[in-house]
Subunit: 215 residues, 2 copies
Amino acid sequence: MINDTVIRDRILRTATEQFYSHGFSKVTVDEIASKIGISKKTIYKFYSSKEDLIRAVTDTVIAETETGFRDIVEDIHLDFVEKLRKMMTFVGIHLSRLSKYLIEDLERNTPHVWSKISEYRTKNIYQHFGSLIREGRKKGIFRNDIDEQLVLMIYANAIENIINPNILSQLPVTANQVYETIIKVIFEGLLTDEARTRYLPKELLRNNNRQQDEE
Amino acid sequence: MINDTVIRDRILRTATEQFYSHGFSKVTVDEIASKIGISKKTIYKFYSSKEDLIRAVTDTVIAETETGFRDIVEDIHLDFVEKLRKMMTFVGIHLSRLSKYLIEDLERNTPHVWSKISEYRTKNIYQHFGSLIREGRKKGIFRNDIDEQLVLMIYANAIENIINPNILSQLPVTANQVYETIIKVIFEGLLTDEARTRYLPKELLRNNNRQQDEE
DNA sequence: AACCGTGAAAACCAAAAGAGTTTCCGATTA
DNA sequence: TAATCGGAAACTCTTTTGGTTTTCACGGTT
């Protein structure tokens, strides 16, 4: 019984890793079985088809993402700015795991799985983010004249095009530095004038001075 | 005429990029054609088969690597240590481009292509590196009691397991920092006791103090 | 010792996919 | 106008893949 759970989870983990690395259609069920050291028959004992497997992978990834969001949102020890930073980092990690290559593969071969992920992004990720921005507006930190969906799209586009492992290995910066830079740029673009005087000197003084010199 | 050369080179570049990213067998000729915006027929106008294409890719990569080596070896402005550093960085870049995934794919699907690359590694890369180490021995910089093939194997193993784009994106360091660290460790391990007093205080003083504190 | 259940490995089957080839058609060139 | 070229699609043959079944060996139980 317990052993069945271990095997099932192992299949799920390996499939997730392989699909996310190489694309759904480019990874065979034989390869997944071989990587784990089990037979194809055992995989089909737990998952009725390759499609069933990618559905399980998708459901699991979505559930884990949602758990991560809840942890951030419900963490009462975080101040607002830190919560936003964590949220953006978390969103960035989620987005960067879905390479263009994988998205194209999913769209082409399992459009319903892709539409579920796409819907999850729209309905949940974007809304979690949007509600944080609206909270910032209430606190007078964020401007009213910038659409939060647009902001997230700018952010998502930056992440998707830069936090690509192959590009990262060529850059003279770490992944974290890239996240921080992108988040900082977005964050500062969101601030009201008043909030700028409150937040920028306190948190970002060194870098801000350098930027004013350039302007 | 000129246009034919451009198209042929474009095919070669795209195939190289795709094969190296995703593996030989997992990239279809259709996909390469589609990425370039040409028809499959045009690809077969220049390359008689998919195998012919991977052979051309291999020959080109080997030729470019060999050119890089020659540039380093024949650069008379480099002192010995700098030449070694450049050589190791160059070797590292070459090694890191060949992921385990691609190697397995080549071994399985085009064993003769893999054996050509493997032979190139053995006959050329390892010998370029080895001759540098032997030169260091003549200069009294490197120890006599360490086998240069073994050193390169240690280096190659470190590179292959760390300079993987997916791992790099999780590390709090840049690719360059990883190279530098690996190269430094190998380099210091190669030095004679006498050369340590010559080279370490001059080039590596800050980090060396920190290491002595830990010992 | 005999039996049973299990799972890896291999074989199997039907459909799909891919390499390589040919055809069709429109655009361009001489 | 005729010829050429190349994209797109269709075609052919082979291979591969998803899913299923069979074989066999092993371990556990009676």
